[in-house]
């Protein structure tokens, strides 16, 4: 990767984690609906979506290139390998408000991601998805609040179906990670991660020309998958 193709200030890589069926893919689809490209890399079984953002902070405007990685269903067969977590700067941990099990599993996901992430205390935003299904809700606010206190997590209730809070959830994480970046000078682990991601590529980035081509094909429709509620 040469510097010539980089027309952004920061490349942020996020992972979406959570049990199968909680609505990860659907949430991402909402976030990047119609406007952005999704790319499935079959050799590694990873689906990633990209989006450009502007982030204003301390009187400066930063151009952000956001990549969000999705598991593409491989967690149905196996636990995710270390490679999946590599270079991730932030995590969206999603559970289903209508599934007690998916909520209980968030503790396991947290321990997984803390084991494999660049540090033991990475930025995580917890999302209680399917908040539109009021009648079916089984996870109480108290339960979630206890978990958030215990792990010191920011929490937001989303609906991938209606789109409620989806943008807010991602931007909450962007804000947290950007804050960490701006303080990176005093965080050795994170500055190392930043340096690595700036010089790319790892397995999923592909050739520089691919990266450029992706942004030129914004019109390509994303296929809506895995969302039976919509």
């Amino acid at each position: 990767m040469t510097g010539a193709n980089i027309d952004y200030d920061y490349l942020l890589k996020f992972l979406v984690l959570g049990d199968s069926g909680v609505g990860k893919t659907c949430l991402l689809y909402q976030y990047t609906d119609g406007r952005f490209h999704t790319q499935f890399i079959s050799t590694v079984g990873i689906d990633f979506r990209e989006k450009r953002l502007l982030y204003n902070s301390r009187g400066r405007r930063h151009r952000i290139h956001l990549q969000i990685w999705d598991t593409a269903g491989q967690e149905r067969f196996r636990s995710l390998t270390t490679a999946f977590y590599r270079d991730a700067m932030g995590f969206l941990l999603i559970f289903d408000l209508t599934s007690e099990k998916s909520f209980l599993e968030t503790a396991n996901w947290l321990s997984q991601l803390r084991t494999h992430a660049y540090s033991e205390d990475p930025d995580v935003v917890l999302c209680g998805n399917k908040c539109d299904l009021l009648q079916l809700r089984v996870v109480s606010r108290d339960q979630v609040a206890a978990l958030c206190r215990r792990y010191r997590l920011p929490y937001i209730e989303t609906s991938a179906c209606t789109g409620a809070n989806v943008k807010e959830a991602v931007e909450l994480l962007v804000g947290r990670v950007m804050e960490r970046i701006e303080n990176a000078a005093c965080n050795r682990e994170f500055s190392l991660l930043l340096t690595q991601s700036r010089c790319l590529p790892n397995i999923a980035y592909g050739q520089p020309e691919d990266l450029v081509r992706l942004h030129d094909r914004r019109e390509e429709p994303c296929s809506r998958r895995n969302c039976r509620n919509c």
Partner: protein, 129 residues
């Protein structure tokens, strides 16, 4: 025992029959009938399992319902005990997930004019090291 000259047909026939049952959510648990209660090994994504009851438990723990499958190749060899070694290369799609390539290997062991699955190794073809 000698080599079974029908190994190609047995391999193809078995694969077709096995996946017809496995891929039907209502019928999936019946794949257990292909395995021996004690003398079957399964390695599912590196996870080692022995015996039909444990294999059934594994199959039932899989979280997808629908599975769509495309078989690319079925390669078979006769084994010297009259059985068949089968290697399947294919792609599968669980529910609405993205399709994944996979490899599955079976060893069919002859027993009284029929066969049971003595060995079964399954891997998604993900190169993510």
């Amino acid at each position: 025992m000698s080599l079974n000259p029908q190994y190609e047909d047995i391999g193809k026939g078995f694969v077709q029959q096995y996946y017809a049952i496995f891929d039907d959510p209502a019928n999936r648990a019946n794949v257990v009938n292909f395995y021996s209660a004690t003398d079957s090994f399964m390695t599912f994504e590196g996870h080692q399992i022995q015996g039909a009851p444990k294999i059934l438990e594994k199959v039932q723990s899989l979280s997808f319902q629908k599975i769509t499958r495309v078989i690319t190749t079925v390669d078979s060899q006769p084994t010297f005990d009259g059985g068949v070694l089968i290697n399947v290369l294919g792609r599968l799609q669980t529910d609405e997930d993205q399709p994944h390539a996979y490899i599955q290997t079976f060893v069919l062991k002859p027993v009284g004019g029929s066969f049971f699955v003595q060995h079964d190794i399954f891997r998604l073809s993900l190169h993510d090291v």
